[in-house]
């Protein structure tokens, strides 16, 4: 394995981590707001707050890790993506900022206003939408070099069906991942009513997710044939991912083994995510930037990888402690004990 591949793999794994935990967070916010509208809030609020409270800051660090690591391993991305993403990334940042701070204000400060809950829920859909635009751009065709500086063509981006499918996929995945997780979590907490409601949402959002995912592959055929070819080359990975999807769906439908269902869902997304990343190689931005010409120097790459390994050794036990104390702690999850400051 070359240093380039190690670097991008590490980053891709952290991005995957972010996608999963942030989806749970974003989706939970949306379901919370939606249940306020339909007067079912009493069912969900406890479950959602118990899960989200101790981990929200950790979720955010995954994102920071990804973009800081990207600059470290692939400094040239700063030049291409930094210039072109100014508007979508700034929008995502503003939404993230409002969301993160109001979350803390509400949870630790004082119960507020319904309006915040709605803004909070809505932002959970808009943020993935805005962030996913960077994936759209990476497929090429929306950026050209003018006087040596990359320029983003907003109109083409706006009218491209690929944009809207990827944005739509981001949103549906958020809702799907989140509802499957919360089904399990509610069950784990022994809350039958919440389990039932979340299960219903999981079933609803499963198919739109799969259909858009397929749609994107079809659209890539026209938009970026090279990428499409690479996807077809590893069709088996996407097949496995599809089978795992069916497994998850089946378990949820049969009301069986929600923990396993969630694991299969993670595996499904993991394989699809890796497969997508693998087939995207070697381009970071079609056709301007590849892994190889965007890569940092060897001294820095080695230093970063060493720092990463040491840091990871430090984090793993800490994360384990966090999960043991909150996610898997029966007394905490069921709300029997509350030791909040």
């Amino acid at each position: 394995m070359t240093l380039e591949i190690i670097g991008i793999t590490v980053l891709w794994l952290f991005l995957f981590g972010y996608v999963i935990i942030a989806s749970i967070d974003f989706g939970a916010g949306f379901f919370n707001a939606y249940s306020l509208l339909t007067n079912k809030n009493h069912i969900l609020i406890k479950i959602i707050q118990r899960y989200l409270s101790p981990v929200w800051e950790v979720t955010n660090v995954f994102l920071v890790f990804f973009f800081v690591g990207m600059i470290g391993f692939f400094p040239k991305t700063a030049f291409y993506y930094g210039t072109t993403l100014l508007v979508p990334a700034s929008l995502a940042l503003i939404l993230l900022a409002i969301r993160g701070s109001y979350y803390a204000f509400e949870t630790y400060g004082s119960r507020g206003h319904k309006g915040y809950a709605f803004a909070y829920g809505l932002s959970g859909l808009l943020i993935p939408a805005a962030l996913s635009v960077s994936l759209v751009i990476s497929e090429g065709g929306f950026v050209s070099l003018v006087d040596g500086a990359p320029v983003l063509h907003y109109q083409e981006l706006f009218y491209s069906p690929l944009t809207w499918s990827i944005v739509f996929l981001a949103i549906t995945s958020v809702l799907y991942i989140s509802s499957v997780f919360l089904t399990w979590y509610a069950k784990h907490a022994g809350d039958e009513e919440a389990t039932g409601l979340m299960r219903k949402y999981a079933l609803i959002w499963a198919f739109p997710t799969m259909i858009t995912a397929f749609g994107i592959i079809v659209e890539l055929r026209a938009h970026n044939p090279e990428h499409f070819e690479n996807i077809v080359d590893i069709w088996w990975a996407f097949l496995i991912s599809g089978l795992l999807f069916i497994g998850t769906f089946w378990l949820i439908l049969m009301k069986r083994q929600y923990a396993l269902a969630f694991c299969m869902l993670v595996a499904q997304f993991f394989i699809a995510f890796l497969g997508y990343g693998w087939s995207h190689r070697p381009y970071l931005l079609y056709p301007h930037l590849t892994l190889y010409d965007g890569f940092t120097n060897e001294a820095m790459a080695t230093a970063l990888i060493i720092a990463f390994i040491l840091g990871f050794l430090l984090l793993l036990p800490s994360l384990h402690l966090l999960l043991r104390l909150f996610l898997f702690n029966k007394e905490y999850v069921t709300g029997k004990k509350n030791h909040h400051v």
């Binding site: 409270s53 101790p54 981990v55 800051e57 950790v58 955010n60 660090v61 920071v64 890790f65 973009f67 800081v68 690591g69 600059i71 470290g72 400094p75 700063a78 030049f79 291409y80 993506y81 930094g82 210039t83 072109t84 100014l86 508007v87 990334a89 700034s90 929008l91 940042l93 503003i94 993230l96 900022a97 409002i98 993160g100 701070s101 109001y102 803390a104 204000f105 630790y108 400060g109 004082s110 040596g148 500086a149 940092t296 120097n297 001294a299 820095m300 230093a303 970063l304 720092a307 990463f308 840091g311 430090l314 984090l315 800490s318 994360l319 104390l325 909150f326 030791h339 909040h340 400051v341």
Partner: protein, 447 residues
Amino acid sequence: MANEEAVFFSRVLTELTLTFHIIYATIGVGVPLMIMIAQWVGIKKNDEHYILLARRWTRGFVITVAVGVVTGTVIGMQLSLLWPNFMELAGHIISLPLFMETFAFFFEAIFLGIYLYTWDRFENQKKHLLLLVPVAIGASFSAVFITMVNAFMNAPQGFDIVNGELVNISPILAMFNPAMPTKVAHVVATAYMTSAFVLAAIGAFRLLKGSNHIYHKKAIYLMMKVGFVFSIATALIGDLSGKYLAEYQPEKLAAAEWHFETEENASLILFGVLQDGEVKYQIEIPYALSILAHSNPTAEVTGLNEFPEDEIPPLYIHYLFNIMVAIGMLMLFVSGLYLYAKRRGWRFVNQKWYRWLIVAGGPLSIIAIETGWWLAEVGRQPWILRGILKVEDAATTSNHVDLMLIAFALLYLVLGIGSVVILSRMFRRNPVEQELQDRTREKGSDF
């Protein structure tokens, strides 16, 4: 091909974001240490007041951390959005500490989550206190790492440029650049100092607003002690920072001191105004600049005349420097006198005017932080990487920076007002007296 408008708005937006972030970041670095000290004293003395102090500070801290985290995320990404050319270059040489900083955040975030949700969960309180240690370490190390990056911008090293190509890159050399020791130490010490004075100010404010509870008095005394220690450290390290500047960035020191001609026996100029190149109404301290720069009253100090016109930083940093130093000296005096008077049993420090002075110390320390950063950053102009890359060549070429500036300005307004409102509401609804009573009832003990 620099886009002048984009450069201008990128500067303003960077200034705005950093100026806002640094308030919350400073509190984020310093307050965990103060909580730790209070909780430790509480456990040692078996005094419920200190424990409650730790607990209430933690609650407030959660709000400031939230704003610190979100604005930090903003600046982290904004650096690439607004300064892509700089970040591309920096990515090659100085991304190591930036990367390590995320681990420090990670560490802090995980243990903060645990700490917040495990009050009274452990039989042995010391175990709970132990959970705070990684929070404090993580927060302080984020400051250390990010300041290393900033130090690199002032004194870049650890690479060579041959025919426009970067060669011989050494991330470690880049991290341990000459600006690093004083800068890191000064930033960390001032964060502790500021946090201590902010917390003391809150206590003094409660006393002025009618409370007469011993709880607040204990808080003030403890924080004045800590603040005093760190203001001494701040002044000493600040002096070393001046010596660093004299050696490595003489133009910054000369501009900050309005030192126009290279000369020996240089005197220090405080305040004053510039009229047609003449300094007027200033206070002059003979030999002091030579001492600040070289620890020697007769030493020669480089003046601005040695530098090309277009590499001289704006001269208004003189005032920033003066304000920072004046506040540092004032706070050293206020806290020192307070401690001395308490020991001697002098009553005047319990009077209203002195308490107002302590209240002022909180915002003043934050102003010192702001002016200090503005001094350091504006004093580096026109460079973004001193001697290597100019600000105007580093900025984005995008045409939408002005819109983003407005959007972010609104965001900071909302966050700023929001955090202040929430904090004051949180503590007003649950006053100390009430909480102490509740806890007495819960525990059935007497204190």
